[in-house]
Symmetry: C2
Subunit: 367 residues, 2 copies
């Protein structure tokens, strides 16, 4: 069993060239899971297919004794039980969540952490109560700077012991339809998605949507906890303080066509007309274009765009592929958002493999 002692604040590891996936990475991959890409067919991802990343253990929370505190730089600290939270205004919102580390294991060299390929995504209808009115009720003091969300999952990361915590600026906390969610697709949250209550930050990578929420603390200075200052940052070398990971970058994914080989997952496709389809999303922006290449990225053609499930959720796309040549092909798909931001075909590498939206490639054999 490989273990290593890590000093607080130490940099994450980068795998040696051609180093296989380590036992540490496999342990994470065996617990957490992506969305099998054939599940892109569902508007709303069933809970057991939605991607899940749990940093530490899934905490067991007795719903009866659960309380949410709102304190710090507020006029009137609050403590709410689940009934009180459910009695507040109720909002439903379809939100696509994606892990900030999605695509990490496709990078060379590979940042060592949860080894996602393309599949760390899912869309759910979250039901809960808006955060902003709750903060208004508590009354933010004039010196409020950051709002810190604390979960009940506890562990160490690079030597730093912590409850999972993330901070948002007051503007971010008040500005974006944030929800305190207690239902997922019309059912109480499953344990692994943050039961009984989680934060949902629409349009942001998943790390912001703190699960098993127990506390909201307003403070008069910038939050400098591990998950904001160390983990979820885009850094280009170990001395780089980096920039924070925030909104989800554009990405399109396709349902791999045909059928797979068990071990290699390579696709076998019968020659003829093949309907390619999938979903695309861009966090706080709207996807305005999806392009498909059937020759590894040399030529591109526009896909048809379908409905968007909501302002913060993916939209469908489809593309008629005339697979008339027998042999091996590489399918590629990329999205562009309304601001002209296009998914890169070459890797946007950074030391922690964060916010990497390199285009999906699907190897297939036409027969």
């Amino acid at each position: 069993m490989t273990t290593q002692t890590v000093r607080p604040g130490e940099a994450s590891r980068i795998a040696a060239p051609d180093e296989g996936i380590s036992l540490d990475e496999l342990r994470l991959a065996a617990r957490n899971h992506g969305m099998p890409l054939e599940a892109l067919r569902y508007d709303l991802t069933p809970p057991g297919l939605h991607y899940i990343l749990v940093h530490y253990d899934i905490p067991y929370v007795a719903t009866d004794s659960w309380r949410l505190t709102v304190d710090g730089r507020v006029d009137a600290p609050l403590e709410l039980d689940l009934a009180a939270l459910r009695a507040r205004p109720r909002v439903e919102l379809a939100v696509t969540l994606e892990c900030a580390g999605n695509g990490r294991a496709r990078l060379h060299p590979r940042p060592v952490s949860q080894p996602w390929l393309d599949e760390a995504v899912g869309t759910a209808r979250w039901t809960g109560t808006p955060l902003a009115p709750l903060l208004a009720e508590a009354g933010l003091l004039d010196d409020a700077v950051d709002v810190v969300f604390t979960g009940m999952d506890h562990g160490t990361d690079r030597g730093v012991e912590q409850d999972y915590q993330r901070g948002l600026s007051v503007a971010e906390a008040l500005g974006g339809e944030l929800l305190l969610a207690y239902e997922m697709n019309g059912q109480p949250l499953p344990p692994q998605h943050g039961a009984p209550v989680r934060l949902v930050v629409p349009g942001w990578y998943g790390m912001a949507s703190v699960k098993w929420l127990r506390g909201i603390t307003v403070q008069d200075h910038r939050f400098t906890g591990f998950q904001n200052e160390t983990a979820y940052r885009i850094k280009h070398d170990t001395d780089d303080a980096g920039v924070p990971v925030t909104g989800i970058r554009p990405r399109a994914l396709m349902v791999p066509p045909g059928f797979p080989d068990f071990m290699t997952r390579r696709r076998i496709v019968d020659a003829g007309d093949v309907a390619l389809y999938g979903r695309a999303w861009a966090g706080l922006a709207t996807v305005s274009r999806v392009e498909v290449s059937v020759d590894g990225g040399r030529h591109w053609a526009d896909a048809d765009l379908g409905e968007q499930l909501g302002r913060y959720a993916w939209r469908s796309w489809s593309f008629d592929w005339r697979a008339d040549t027998v042999g091996d092909v590489e399918l590629v798909v990329r999205a562009t958002d309304e601001h002209g931001d296009t998914q890169p075909v070459d890797q946007p590498w950074n030391t922690q493999g964060m916010a990497n939206n390199m285009a999906q490639r699907v190897a297939a054999s036409v027969r």
Copy 2:
């Protein structure tokens, strides 16, 4: 992207000594997932936490057009839709399912396939109709030998194109409370667990419980399909025809105590009294003993056994650990069944890593 051409019937690959987990294995691990071990606390595993292994793609099955055919060596072939199946006698059964490949990635050298560590298990309450009366209604002919169950998931494995199929002898098919299940924990089957109907073979490793069931064919000769004759066999070298994988061997697992380090999953435990607990199961047998070692397997002490959820489901166990020495420890747990079959502490190696029930080891640091 690593791909390889495989000749029909070719042996599975074994990793070179110290070869890291391959991209092929990671692709499987990112799709399929185990049960996070803290979910051992639940009598019945919530669907999104129950282990799942999908050989090919999760098929999309329109419930309205789904039919189950029963044919071959029978008097009266049957075709049933879901309403007809649900109108038949209804039985609920708590069943622990475990993947036959559980533990594979802990073996040295490592058989290359879905790289499970310890976590490919789950227990659900399955609701459906018993198989035996349905076969009786169809009327098995006197020359009936095997009953073949065909799923709707399609792919290739080692060059063999197939719908997923498994055969059972007539005696096995009639003898063991087999269910055609359409509910899991009181809800319609989720897509990844075989919706709308799957077979559940209590006490057997999961490969027997064919998902997305579409056909049951009785034949007058032994079934020699890939999943019976090639994949799910215990073989000791590449020339070994092997023996079939059948009933689940004894295994105990513990909820890892304390809290984890994110990357290594190593446990940190506060010194003092620590309540260790978990579950143990033995397929068609009953677990009669669970033992815990807190020194890597040198000394063992009996755990207290709790309730068994049913004849085919796990039972709880608990053990009071006085963790009074600061430092690193290795916790080990093993089960023994009513026939005296005890989990091995050393690896029971075979070329495909099947039915490996080597005892769980948990590395922890007491502080």
